[in-house]
Chain length 130, copies 2
């Protein structure tokens, strides 16, 4: 049914999320690994507690690769384990927490700050490619 | 440092991609599992060869959960393994191929057809939630 594949060209290379994560040695500093239209895929390692914030203009997607992420919401929380994802709706206050290190993929529009509607010492620079 | 988490509420539940995949027993029929703004997350199992097509209006993201996906492009191909992702740019002709079954997560704007700019017997209905 299938013929031979087209000749492989080196420029077409998949992004290996695990290998990319190995390049990250700090916490709370998202690194860009791919873009889809005006959305960005960011890898980040976190540990400990973050600050409450929301993203007034956009939903935010978390896909966990390792560890157990707890996303605190004002009316409860959700635990996100490896192989699980969660979308925090636009405008919903949330705070991430990782008892032990969590490695995860974030998906959000270009320009989204990690601290959302607030900026403080935890605000990480955007558009840092890995 | 961290206080007790807010009281868990059942409505906040992560999406377990592996468990969702177990509910799929057919091939080439994407199922919706989450939305982020006007983008959709779709799980699909595929095996065999697809048809050449492109998406004139949007990039398309593939994240492989199981199996080895081959994405044929007119000037080569890319193999995407579990834990890897690839973004096919807007307007770029491509064809997916799976020698053995591939389980994957697609991310694309709401309304994107699996056959892109073409429709035929392989065109799957959209907005089928899992």
């Amino acid at each position: 049914m299938n013929t031979n594949p087209p000749i492989p060209i080196a420029k077409h290379v998949a992004i290996n999320l695990g290998e990319k994560l190995q390049l990250i040695s700090d916490h709370w500093k998202p690194r860009l690994v791919a873009e889809m239209n005006d959305y960005q895929f960011k890898l980040v390692k976190i540990q400990g507690d973050f600050i409450w914030h929301d993203h007034p203009q956009t939903d935010e997607t978390f896909i966990v690769m390792a560890g157990v992420l707890r996303i605190d919401l004002r009316d409860g929380c959700v635990h996100v384990k490896p192989g699980e994802m969660y979308v925090v709706p636009k405008g919903v206050e949330h705070k991430t927490y990782a008892e032990n290190e969590v490695q995860m993929l974030l998906i959000e529009p270009r320009g989204t700050l990690n601290t959302g509607n607030t900026t403080d010492g935890r605000t990480a620079p955007n558009d840092v490619w890995l």
